[in-house]
């Protein structure tokens, strides 16, 4: 079943097109990573799906029904973790979580249980009586998550939940998301950090300039591009006429020099490293560094759009 089905969505902000015939299908039970650089339209896409924003064209269905601002039954099944921390500054951690839980859960006993579980889940038990202004950035993000998932929704949307968060909290959040998925929630996770989607997403949609460019698993995306291997090597000394020979090695797509290192892109082939070592031996070169990298999502993005994913 498709939990979210967005077709041909167009959204303009005056002259700028924020979503350009954007399509998104999210299957039940998956962790979908929506990946793209800053300003590509990820948050606009999410806000349009949630009916927070008007859009100019297209159709959006959530749980098989058209999503509007009055779709309260659908909203009961959704949990949002917005990009900005969205809690009441003058309510404590527990009060915030309890308040938002109360918007979904009428039974007080069940609500208390869910609130306790949410606080446990984000490990904020020691900070229950703290006000948000007393929390660090990472802890505020955890509170933000707790407020969005306390009611155990079927669909959880997290919009860049790890921005400005320390590494420990980030790891904690990512592991928590995987746990939520194991518990049965479908997850939509937007980010511009490659390593995050590679770590948790079962399927990735890459966005740029308001369009969905490509989608698939990490493996499928990497197989889409011609680069199948990247080898980084630096030499003690290499003559210019030898440098040009690097591009002529079998299966080499491109060899570029970046700050003294040579980055050599290879097509799919079994003996890429062997071929390179033979070249090095043939020309009597001495290397100081050599390692092989599988293509990253950044390479996928680069090949598809001509630019780096990172800012």
């Amino acid at each position: 079943m498709l939990v979210v089905n967005a077709k041909n969505v167009v959204k303009r902000y005056e002259e700028k097109i924020a979503l350009d015939h954007f399509n998104l299908e999210v299957k039940e039970g998956e962790v979908l990573g929506l990946l793209g650089p800053n300003g590509c339209g990820k948050t606009t896409a999410i806000n349009s799906i949630l009916s927070l924003l008007n859009y100019d064209k297209g159709e959006i269905e959530v749980f098989g029904e058209k999503m509007t601002s009055n779709s309260y039954d659908i909203k009961r099944q959704i949990g949002l973790v917005p990009q900005e921390v969205s809690v009441f500054e003058n309510l404590t951690v527990r009060e915030n979580i309890d308040y938002f839980a109360g918007l979904y859960i009428d039974d007080s006993k069940q609500r208390k249980q869910y609130v306790d579980e949410a606080i446990e889940f984000v490990d904020l038990k020691d900070y229950e009586k703290f006000y948000p202004r007393k929390l660090s950035g990472g802890l505020k993000r955890r509170l933000n998550i707790a407020a969005g998932i306390v009611h155990k929704p079927k669909l959880i949307i997290l919009d860049e939940p790890t921005v400005a968060v320390d590494a420990q909290s980030r790891n904690f959040i990512l592991e928590g998301i995987l746990e939520l998925n194991k518990q049965g929630s479908t997850i939509i996770y937007t980010t511009h950090y490659l390593e995050e989607v590679e770590q948790i997403a079962s399927r990735i949609v890459i966005m740029d300039n308001g369009k969905d460019i490509v989608s698939g698993t990490t493996k499928e995306l990497k197989e889409m591009i011609t680069t199948s291997e990247k080898i980084v090597v630096s030499f003690l000394e290499i003559k210019d006429e030898v440098v040009s020979g690097l591009s002529n090695i079998t299966n080499v797509i491109e060899a570029t020099r970046v700050n003294g290192d040579f980055i050599i892109m290879f097509e799919n082939g079994a003996n890429n490293l062997t071929n390179l070592l033979e070249f090095i031996k043939k020309h009597g070169l001495v290397y100081t560094k050599l390692y092989s990298q599988q293509p990253t999502l950044n390479d996928v993005f680069l090949e598809l759009t001509g630019k780096e994913l990172r800012d």
């Binding site: 949630l50 927070l52 924003l53 008007n54 601002s69 917005p82 921390v85 938002f100 918007l103 407020a147």
Partner: protein, 351 residues
């Protein structure tokens, strides 16, 4: 109902713990009242002495005015009444058309004006005037010291009763996704906007009433100002003032996409300006408005409250009270309808 109560409790906590709100709604009025007391307590308190009234020859009101103990009636047959007014030998001159001539405004002039108005109304309604006790007797009964500076405190009470507008503005901001982060989250929940708004307005009303009561207790027991002789009518006015403040705040919050600080500043400017016109900076402005542009006194919501508090408690006159309540009620309905129009099915082009 349970959900409404929950919302009221949590929104109440949120606002009550806001130190900025506490300062503006509770501390600021107390500071202002203290300042007024420091600045003006050195001024002479007027005790109401007998009022010297000049009347024209064969004035039909003469015999009626003579019945009022506090009035000293002087028949003046020529234009010398003008000099007597300037020299303050008489406080007011009543001509044969029952029109008043005064050279200055003050409590004595206000009293005679009220009495003459009562007489005119009685005549117009065909009621017998002989033996009528006009509403001046409060002076003797209550031994009320009169202080024209008192109008400042009434104006302050009027202004502060409308301070519920701050929470009204904040409530509307909180529920809008393009104005607050909490609004983004709230708009994705099954919470209906009307529910949040109603609970916010209840909180605004309750918290501001509490702050008003604190101010009144401060005025009575700390500054020793006995401002009220008629608690029932006065309290009704204050409650209506609070409802007006809530409606104004909701309207300001709903009608503009500006940020909260801008709306709050606008709210402060409105309350200060209209309170100024109602006498917040002294009785002079109030008297000037009453004299030159009385219509403002009848439509300025703060003047309505100030003037009625003044009349009810100082002169014992409740005649303009119903009109004042109706006018304020109309304002409340208009503001709430306007707010509904702006908020109804609001969707966002950008957040």
């Amino acid at each position: 109902m349970k959900s409404l109560a929950r919302n009221v409790i949590y929104q109440g906590k949120n606002f009550f713990r806001d130190s900025g709100q506490v300062f503006w709604t509770i501390l600021f009025p107390i500071i202002l009242a203290s300042f007024f007391n420091l600045a003006f307590s050195g001024l002479t308190y007027e005790t109401i002495e007998d009022i010297n009234v000049g009347v024209s020859e064969d004035n039909p009101l003469k015999f009626m005015l003579e019945d009022v103990e506090e009035f000293n009636i002087y028949e003046i047959t020529d234009e010398s009444y003008k000099d007597k007014l300037i020299n303050e030998e008489i406080h007011v001159y009543v001509d044969e058309d029952m029109e008043l001539v005064v050279s200055q405004s003050g409590i004595s002039q206000s009293i005679i004006k009220e009495v003459v108005e009562q007489i005119k109304q009685a005549i117009a309604l065909g009621r017998p005037i002989e033996g009528t006790e006009f509403q001046v007797s409060y002076i003797k009964q209550k031994d009320q010291e009169s202080n024209s500076i008192i109008v400042i405190y009434y104006a302050l009470i009027a202004m502060v009763s409308a301070y519920a507008l701050f929470i009204g503005i904040e409530t509307v901001s909180l529920m809008q996704a393009n104005l607050s982060n909490v609004g983004i989250r709230l708009n994705v929940t099954p919470l209906k906007k009307e529910s949040f708004l109603v609970s916010g307005t209840i909180v605004a009303f309750i918290l501001n009433i509490i702050s008003n009561i604190i101010l009144l207790l401060f005025l009575k027991y700390v500054l020793k100002l006995d401002l009220f002789t008629n608690f029932t009518y006065s309290f009704i006015l204050i409650i209506i003032g609070n409802l007006f403040g809530v409606a104004l705040g909701v309207f300001l919050g709903a009608s503009s996409k500006k940020d909260n600080n801008t709306k709050t500043a606008f709210g402060i400017a409105i309350t200060l300006f209209f309170s100024f016109l109602s006498g917040l900076n002294g009785p002079g402005m109030k008297s000037l408005i009453d004299e030159k542009a009385p219509i403002i006194g009848r439509i300025n919501p703060f003047s309505i409250i100030t003037n009625n508090l003044y009349r009810i408690n100082l002169i014992g006159n409740t005649e303009t009270f119903p009109e004042g309540i109706v006018v304020l009620g109309i304002y409340i309905v208009i503001l709430l309808c306007g707010s509904y129009f702006f908020l109804r099915r609001r969707t966002y082009d950008s957040i």
